[in-house]
């Protein structure tokens, strides 16, 4: 376990390092110059040079790379062209918005998926089972931005039950973090994007749980529990489900990595002020420092979530031995 943890951490650091390097080269592949937007071509060549030197662009590539890394360690990702403020500061204000929506969505998916998948496996072949499969697969094949548009059109615009997009009513000012997320206004704004997200990602955990439950239901200990005359609910959740959980855990890491992409679309549709919307806006307005910061952040999220899922998996199933193969 210890050895596995150490190698896994090393791999994570390596992955992060390569990812950051990739990011460096990706943004230096830009046509022209990353500062073309702030340095006006109408300036005197001498002043252009001075500005370029300020951004560190007159130095050779390896020095730039070194500076880039040094600044990143100091949590300095440059200054956004559009906001005219440090990228780190802007990201700081948006991280929680994204993580809350994503985290709640994934948690809901897991809970509904595990509980529902268990029942579906228990009553396999029934109308409930096949109905749920079709329902969840239909939502899975619907692009998330389209279902979001339809949900907004129906519940937000036609029925006017919920506000259309954004996180708070315009003009709302929060006194503190607690106030920002724990109030009715936020909840009202949260419901539509959260349900879109949950419906979209539900199929994964639901079907994986169902399949792995089917395998467990054949096991002797389940038969024994039934023969003992235990209540079906008790057999389902107390005996069988906990043995069928592992594949769902594995799925989590994959889902997080996909959901970061879904998050971009979801936030665009619902004008949710998070990192996903930020990266789209940044790219559309050629705000490269901001785009780079957002991209780095999203990648780091995926990498660390993958790591967490791996560790959790190893912790939950001691039968699996890593590093001895």
């Amino acid at each position: 376990m210890r050895k596995f943890l150490i190698t896994r951490i090393l791999y994570m650091v390596l992955t992060l390092f390569v990812f950051i390097t990739l990011c460096f080269f990706l943004f230096r592949m830009l046509p022209g110059d990353p500062t073309a937007l702030v340095i006006s071509p109408s300036l005197m060549p001498e002043s252009q040079e001075v500005l370029r030197a300020q951004f560190g662009l007159d130095k050779p590539l390896h020095i730039q790379y070194y500076l880039y890394f040094k600044n990143l360690m100091k949590r300095d990702m440059g200054i956004s062209f559009i906001y005219r403020a440090p990228v780190t500061k802007i990201i700081k204000g948006k991280i929680l918005n994204t993580l809350i929506l994503m985290g709640l969505g994934m948690t809901l998916c897991m809970i509904i998926g595990v509980l529902g998948g268990t029942v579906m496996a228990w009553r396999r072949g029934s109308k409930l089972d096949s109905g749920s499969i079709i329902f969840s697969l239909a939502f899975r094949s619907t692009p998330i931005f389209w279902s979001g548009m339809l949900i907004l059109l129906l519940f937000g615009y036609k029925l006017d039950w919920f506000p259309v997009g954004r996180m708070h009513t315009p003009g709302y000012g929060a006194f503190n973090i607690w106030d920002q997320y724990f109030n009715i206004d936020f909840l009202k704004h949260l419901i539509l994007p959260l349900s879109t997200l949950t419906l979209y990602y539900l199929a994964g955990p639901l079907l994986v749980m169902r399949n792995s439950m089917l395998e467990v239901l054949h096991a002797d200990f389940v038969e024994l529990a039934i023969a003992k005359g235990l209540h079906p609910l008790k057999v389902m959740y107390h005996h069988a489900a906990r043995n069928a959980l592992l594949p769902v855990i594995t799925l989590t890491s994959l889902m997080v990595s996909y959901s970061v992409g879904g998050q971009v679309l979801l936030e665009t549709i619902f004008s949710w002020p998070g990192m996903g919307k930020e990266i789209v806006d940044a790219v559309n307005s050629n705000d490269y420092p901001m785009a780079q910061g957002a991209f780095l952040f999203l990648g780091a999220t995926v990498i660390s979530m993958n790591f967490l899922a791996d560790v959790l998996y190893c912790y939950l199933d001691p039968r699996i031995k890593y590093g001895e193969e």
Binding site: T142, F145, L152, G262, V283, G299
Partner: protein, 314 residues
Amino acid sequence: MVHLKCGYWKRDSLNKPRTGRMAHAQPYFKAIWDQIGIVWEDTLGRIGMILLFFFILLALFGPFIAPYGAYEKCWTPDGKLERMQSPSWRHPMGTTYYGRDVLSQVILGTRQVVIVGFVSALMVVVVGTNIGLVCGYYKGNVDNLLMRLTDIVYGIPFLPFAIVLISIIGKGVSSIIIAIVLILWRSTSRVIRSQVLSLRERPFVLAVKVSGASDFRVIYKHIAPNILPMAFLYASFAIAWAVAAEASISFLGLGDPNTISWGQILFYAFLTQGVTSPYWWIIPPGVCIMLLVMSAFFIGRAYEKVANPQLRER
């Protein structure tokens, strides 16, 4: 497992000596044909194949069917722009804010989606399979290096990467395909690798090796036909994935501005109308994306069921 069902042409081919230039390709053709037959046997798989075939036809002959051009503005006889018309005989799916015919846009938009879906799926499977074959066959350092690379690619979130990449290398169909292929090969290569790891220890591979076949020959003539079913399965999932990815990228406004696609129709709807978009404008392209993704899913699932008999009993 998969190879039980799909390895039978090997026995067959022992009796029939093959000659001619195409002889080496024969196991591949036959294998691919077999896979299609397998899918056809399943009801859902058949529906998927029919849907897919329908969309391919639409992509091929779209320009002959569509009543108007994709970006053509429609005018009433008295010279008014037909803006936001609800469905009528003249425009079965209504018109957009710019006075364009939605039906024609949907028909003409099929082509880009199908091209992106198929080309990127093909490239993904070719790249992924080859990496998997090399990793699984040679093991050791090569395997280690390439699998670390796969892990790293697993850490890159697709859509943000695609957005950044396309904003850097420019909009266009090829940029979308490049973005998809650069990310998607990871899952295929991982699965193929684990298959090859077990295949390379089998007696028939050992026998061929003993008789002095080169690595290249062992990999591509003897191992590769056996992992084709898996590659086929991942190809169908890759189509579903690529279609959804193309729609997402176009929806964000990063598609080729000169070629229409379903995602782009939705992009314009959301750009001009936001949440108040009329239903006739946003429902048809969305349904098309859904059906195409579903058809590829159906094919994959049908195929998985037969390839993996354990699933069938349920």
